[in-house]
């Protein structure tokens, strides 16, 4: 029997997506495996070694820290979630204000341009020491999410069609009404874009965030500690777990973006 691919069939589309993704991941696995054999360095263990480490971690937990795999995951996720909420609560309103006010834009620009290039890994020791071991790491992730979210929000405000603002004003809306009934909805697609970029960078910061004076575990510390001891298969397990968390959170944002875009009619 021959099945003809039908692009308008939801099941066909889904099947095609799954098939191509699976092949893509298989290729990655193959390349990884071959690189591991060719280089022969223990720092790039072959997939079966990593699988063994994963099973061991699942069954026995992380012996060094006394944490289970789930403890580490929850610890990192919690940090990440709090950092995200704060970044959102700060970056979006600030971005809207900066986008609206040229004076504020000119004033904050030098500050932001000075701070933006500083890598979160440089912030980690400073923030952990200066603030504390609970909020320091959260702030490191916060910084990672904050900047892309802010820049995208500002960009979104600047991209608002002036006609929409004029329309709102001629219809009798005051400044506040124009702000939350027109400006905010206009920037939503840009904010969503900022969120997606920010989530990716946020996960990149988790290792730096959890490296200094570890408190309460986390995948980032798990990775750096095992790298220090040369337990490379465990390092890879940690890396893969973080990438899965990254995929899940970004996938969630993607989903939210689609729903919002559909409901607001702004694709």
């Amino acid at each position: 029997m021959r099945i003809k691919y039908d692009n308008e069939n939801k099941l066909h589309r889904f099947g095609r997506y799954i098939l191509i993704s699976a092949v893509s991941l298989l290729v990655l696995l193959y390349v990884w495996w071959m690189v591991s054999i060719i280089l022969g360095t223990p720092a790039i263990p072959a997939p079966p070694r990593v699988w063994d480490a994963f099973i061991h971690l699942l069954n026995h937990g992380d012996v060094v820290t006394g944490y289970s795999m789930w403890d580490h995951i929850v610890a990192s996720l919690k940090r990440f979630a709090i950092a995200f909420v704060i970044a959102f609560a700060v970056a979006v309103p600030l971005g809207l204000l900066i986008g609206m006010s040229k004076t504020l834009d000119d004033f904050t620009r030098p500050i932001l341009e000075v701070l933006r290039p500083i890598a979160p890994i440089a912030w980690a020791p400073v923030l952990v020491f200066a603030i504390d071991r609970t909020w320091g790491p959260i702030l490191v992730v916060f910084i990672g999410i904050f900047f892309p979210l802010l820049t995208n929000t500002v960009f979104g405000v600047k991209k608002i069609e002036s006609n929409l603002m004029d329309a709102s004003r001629t219809l009798g809306a005051n400044k506040a009404q124009t702000f939350y009934k027109v400006m905010f909805p206009c920037t939503v697609p840009y904010i969503m874009n900022g969120i997606k970029i920010g989530l990716g960078i946020g996960w990149m910061c988790i290792i730096a965030a959890e490296m200094v004076a570890p408190y309460g575990g986390g995948l980032g510390y798990f990775i750096s500690m095992h790298a220090f001891n040369g337990s490379w298969p465990y390092v890879f397990v940690g890396i893969i777990l973080i990438s899965i968390l990254g995929l899940l959170t970004i996938g969630l944002a993607e989903r939210a973006h689609k729903i919002i875009a559909k409901r607001t009619g702004m694709e």
Partner: protein, 388 residues
């Protein structure tokens, strides 16, 4: 199907079949963990200590539960020593966390040089650290004052004679440059002898030793800075707690015991089938024995030669344990206008940044940045067992 599809499918088939063949024919089983480095001499034994914001008894669990200690990190001798001590008190040992109980002692990883600052914030109760930081913290936060630090125990009291730092050589370098290794050991041994002599405050070399110690361990990179009286007191006190010795006696047995200890604590994640054999391969006392057996004639032969070759060296930052190596490397301790390494014809260069832990020095080995490294025995054992 059009031509492009066919080409893509065929391409993938070739790619996958070749890849599969490659993977199947390769030995992807557990690689042997034969060490790629060798320990050729000891640097020091003892020389660490536990401090805390209250007086504790290392034989009585009273008061230990719920406290937070800083360590240089899992896989260091200090961390393992504290862990063994806590277990011997009948308590648990776990990574610091928000919810604590009083039957567990908590640890967190802090770079030794930062422990003093962190201790000053008083969010952690104490720590275990190598010299000079142990003495520095006790000097900076005097016992009995508010937030003052008490000396709970020196490492010598917990594990008398425990080995600490080692001179480690990359095997590939050692096999091709035996003579350079011998020259290095000759210079190093002479430096150890000098350090031990200069430790005596009456010795003419004492002032130079203090200078070397301060520049090695306490000066944070400011060439114009001068030691304070407190610094000198710290160094004098610290030097007393460190035992400088190059001998490898009993180290093989110690490594054998370390292997099972680290396997249990999760730092060694690759099983070592025969710990004694592994220890035998890792600890190479042949060079040291050759050198000590015919020290006089070898000194005769190699002293005041030049141009023997270059060695790339990796060391730890701010570690008073490694002072003999620093003395032989950067100072004229013989009085003839040359460093000891130069006296033995060696050009020793820095093979990478100074590291905050032995894992970092092992990374320098792995990255082929150094030929000889000076680092703790545990990181050497753990990284070698795990495959580097």
């Amino acid at each position: 199907m059009n031509n492009v599809t066919v080409a893509v499918v065929v391409g993938f088939l070739i790619f996958f079949s070749l890849g599969t063949a490659f993977i199947v024919t390769s030995d992807t089983g557990e690689q042997s963990n034969d060490p790629v480095v060798s320990v050729v001499a000891m640097v020091n034994s003892e020389g660490s200590g536990i401090f805390c914001d209250r007086m504790l008894d290392i034989n009585d669990p009273e008061g230990w539960g719920g406290l937070v200690f800083m360590t240089p990190g899992p896989g260091t001798i200090q961390h393992e020593m504290l862990k063994s001590l806590v277990f011997s008190l009948g308590l648990y040992f776990a990574l610091d966390r928000p919810t604590k109980n009083n039957w567990t002692v908590y640890w967190t990883q802090v770079a030794p040089g930062d422990m003093s600052e962190y201790y000053g914030k008083r969010t952690m109760n104490g720590g275990i650290v190598w010299e000079p930081w142990y003495s520095a913290i006790l000097t900076k936060y005097p016992e009995g004052s508010i937030g003052g630090a008490y000396s709970v125990a020196r490492s010598a009291e917990i594990e008398p004679g425990h080995p600490c730092c080692m001179v480690v050589v990359k095997n590939s370098f050692m096999e091709q440059n035996e003579e350079l290794v011998i020259r290095f050991l000759l210079a190093y041994i002479e430096a150890v002898e000098w350090v031990n002599k200069a430790k005596d405050p009456g010795d003419p070399g004492h002032a130079l030793l203090l200078k070397i110690a301060w520049e090695t361990a306490l000066n944070k990179g400011d060439p114009s800075a001068l030691p304070t009286p407190g610094d000198i007191a710290t160094i004098e006190q610290a030097l007393l707690g460190i035992n400088y010795d190059y001998s490898l006696d009993g180290i093989k047995e110690y490594v054998t015991s370390l292997i099972s200890r680290f396997a249990n604590s999760g730092s060694i994640t690759k099983p070592v089938n025969d710990p004694a054999a592994f220890a035998g391969m890792l600890i190479n006392d042949g060079f040291l024995n050759d050198v000590t057996d015919s020290m006089a004639s070898l000194r005769e032969e190699y002293r005041n030669t030049s141009g023997a070759g270059t060695i790339r060296l990796g060391v730890l930052a701010n570690d008073l344990h490694q002072i003999a190596v620093r003395a032989a490397w950067g100072y004229d301790i013989t009085g003839d206008g040359k460093t000891l390494f130069e006296v033995y014809g060696l050009n020793v260069v820095q093979g990478g940044d100074f590291q905050t832990g032995g894992g970092g020095v092992m990374n320098l080995f792995a990255g082929n940045a150094i030929d000889i490294g000076v680092l703790g025995l545990p990181p050497t054992v753990i990284r070698s067992a795990n495959g580097l």
